[in-house]
């Protein structure tokens, strides 16, 4: 039974066996269709341009152009394509750079099979999604650092309203959407956002999302 509006997906991974496995996982699901496969970063950018998929699932370690660079190019030119990064690394350095490059979701390959479908559906809905293992590692690093340096948990500094807005921003909502949801003016939301960024000492949305994942506010 052909669906009316299937989610169109492009897979980019230099490993053929891996791609085949992922394709099987995705196509077992209703409403998901893999429309193209790329073997390296450059090919992935080309396919994104040609096929304009809804979701681009991409490995980081690829020849020619790595997944992060490819994400940067794709999200700059086609912001409507949601990018899911598949990686072997649960390190913050990769995650933060993937987010800065425009990725909306970051999955560990260990758990790809379990999380991939959920991640694809989340990013299509405009949300972020991270493997639970990633959140765990980030949280552990964060807690250890707080404990060691004796620093205050800056989350405590936020007012309940600010925490609410932090979560909505991290989930990918725009200022306008947040304002409508909370019955506030866009200006007030902007003020809250600036205050949050200042209190948490964050620079940019990727760091905010990373922070939210760390704190378990989003997954």
């Amino acid at each position: 039974m052909p669906e009316l509006n299937p989610i169109r997906i492009v897979l980019a991974d230099d490993h053929v066996v891996m791609r085949a496995g992922l394709r099987l996982v995705l196509e077992q699901q209703e409403g998901l269709r893999v429309v193209g496969e790329a073997g390296d970063g450059r090919e992935a950018v080309g396919l994104a341009e040609k096929l304009k998929p809804n979701v681009l699932v991409m490995d980081i370690g690829m020849p020619n152009l790595n997944g992060i660079e490819a994400s940067r190019q794709v999200s700059a030119r086609f912001p409507e394509i949601a990018i899911v990064i598949l990686s072997m690394h649960s390190d913050e350095g990769y995650i933060l750079r993937a987010l800065r490059a425009g990725a909306r979701s970051y999955l560990l390959k260990d758990s790809a099979e379990a999380d991939l479908v959920r991640a694809v559906r989340a990013v299509v809905a405009g949300k972020s999604y991270f493997s639970p293992a990633v959140s765990k590692v980030l949280l552990e690093d964060y807690m250890r650092k707080l404990q060691r340096t004796g620093a205050e948990d800056s989350f405590e500094l936020l007012s309940p309203r600010e925490r609410q807005i932090l979560q909505l921003v991290a989930e990918g909502k725009s200022n306008k959407e947040i304002a409508d949801l909370l019955h506030l003016s866009v200006y007030t939301v902007e003020t809250h956002r600036a205050s949050i960024m200042k209190k948490l000492n964050l620079r940019g949305i990727p760091e905010l999302i990373l922070y939210a994942v760390r704190k378990g506010i989003i997954s």
Binding site: D14, H15, V17, M18, A20, G21, L22, L24, V25, Q28, I60, G61, N66, I68, M88, H89, D91, E92, G93, Y94, R97, K109, D110, A112, E113, A114, E140, D141, R144, K145, R148, T149
Partner: protein, 443 residues
């Protein structure tokens, strides 16, 4: 063998020079002493001759004076007795006092002197006898006879005394010329010695010069050899580092991309399998077990790959790799490590620089967590004025940088290969700062 031969020759040359120098020194000391001795002798001789001369002159003068005294007294007595004609027995002064003076004259040196001296004796003896007989004469004739005797013998004695003085003066002159001759010969000998000393000194100087030049040449040769060896060693070590790095990289890639990816897709398949098999069945638990095992293996492979060479270094760049390294060390639980750095565009840093900095920091952090006992460490990376400066600072117990281990030596070599410098600042109880400064390659 050639080394031995050269050594033996050098040793022989050294011995010859040493002996020659010693001999020259002995010669100079000996001849100097001899000259001094001869000069002293000459001086003493001169003094003796002078005083002898003066004594003889004085004695000759005394003879003249004594005779004149005697003649004056005799004439005075004679005049006194002339008044008292009768007193015939009246005695005249004896000539013995003159003889006594003559007897004090030093031993004659020449036969001429002896003849003159004897003449004086003889004259005085005859005079004495003549005076005795004259005293016995008729008083009228006596005075004239005595007057004549006194005058005639006086002439003889005084002339002889003068003769003695003349002889003396001649002897002095002769002595002077003898001394002069001896002095002349001494001077000639001294000159000869001086010439010999100068000649041997010159020879020794030339020998030493040759020896020094030879040593210098050898030292230069050896220096060249050593510096050549060192540069070869340096090249070798750089090559070794390069090889190790590229092999690590290849191995890490192989582990990560081939084995890791295969395991990854295996895991995906196992995951799909477990979705097909109900978990309460025996097959389900088995699939679960396989999945757990595969996850474990994949984790190990990944750690191994990262240990060999972190993929961040190639995928993300230097700073993310350093941040990862810092987090890894922090996770081990000994020290909390923070990185303070701006992201450095990768096109500014060639791979060799990234690797060098990464390995230096890795080694420094290894020391921090293993030995320093530090609770905090910070990594600072700065890019300014065409040079990259990286430092790792801890608050640990510090160490003596001079007792640097192999790891630190390796760090130093890596940095030096890229034309940079590595400094280690550490004091017991005051922590450690390891700092590497690398000049950036010309763009």
């Amino acid at each position: 063998m050639a080394e031995d031969l050269g050594d033996r020759r050098v040793r022989r040359l050294k011995l010859v020079l040493f002996c020659a120098f010693g001999a020259m020194l002995l010669l100079m000391v000996g001849s100097g002493w001899e000259v001094m001795r001869l000069l002293g002798e000459l001086n003493a001789e001169h003094q003796r001759v002078q005083s002898d001369y003066a004594q003889r002159m004085r004695m000759a003068e005394q003879i003249s004076t004594a005779y004149r005294d005697y003649a004056v007294k005799a004439r005075r007595e004679l005049a006194a007795t002339a008044a008292e004609q009768e007193q015939q027995k009246k005695e005249l002064p004896e000539v013995t006092q003159v003889v006594e003076v003559v007897e004090h004259y030093p031993h004659p040196l020449t036969s001429d002197e002896e003849i003159v001296l004897r003449r004086i004796y003889v004259t005085l003896a005859r005079h004495r006898a003549a005076m005795q007989s004259a005293l016995g004469n008729d008083p009228s004739k006596r005075a004239a006879a005595i007057q004549q005797l006194l005058a005639a013998d006086g002439d003889t004695v005084l002339a002889s005394a003068q003769g003695l003085q003349a002889l003396n003066a001649g002897a002095l002159h002769q002595n002077d010329s003898v001394l002069e001759e001896r002095f002349g010969s001494l001077r000639a000998r001294s000159l000869l010695l001086l010439a010999v000393a100068l000649a041997s000194g010159l020879m020794i100087a030339l020998g030493s010069l040759a020896y020094i030049l030879k040593l210098q040449r050898e030292a230069q040769l050896r220096y060249l050899e050593i510096s050549e060896n060192r540069s070869e060693l340096k090249k070798l070590s750089a090559r070794l580092v390069e090889t190790q790095e590229s092999e690590r990289k290849a191995l890490s890639r192989e582990l990560h991309d081939e084995i890791g990816q295969s395991l990854g897709s295996l895991l995906v398949d196992v995951g799909r399998l477990s979705a097909l098999v109900p978990s309460e069945e025996q097959a389900g638990t088995l699939v679960g077990k396989i999945k757990g095992e595969a996850e474990h293996v994949i984790q190990s492979v990944r750690s191994m790959a990262l240990l060999l060479r972190p993929s961040m270094l190639d995928d993300l760049g230097l700073i993310p790799a350093l941040e990862w390294q810092a987090r890894e060390v922090s996770r081990q639980g000994t020290a909390e490590v923070e990185v303070f750095a701006e992201d450095i565009p990768d096109n500014l840093l060639p791979d060799s620089y990234r690797t060098c900095v990464y390995r230096v920091v890795q080694e420094a952090l290894h020391n921090v967590s293993r030995h320093s006992g530090a609770s905090h460490a910070r990594i600072d990376v700065q890019l300014a004025h065409d040079q990259l400066s990286v430092s790792v600072q801890d608050d640990g117990r510090g160490f003596d940088p001079h007792t640097r281990g192999l790891g630190l030596v390796g760090m130093g070599e890596r940095v030096k290969d890229l034309g940079g410098t590595l400094t280690i600042d550490s004091q017991a109880g005051a922590g450690t700062i390891v700092r590497a400064v690398l000049p950036l390659p010309a763009a």
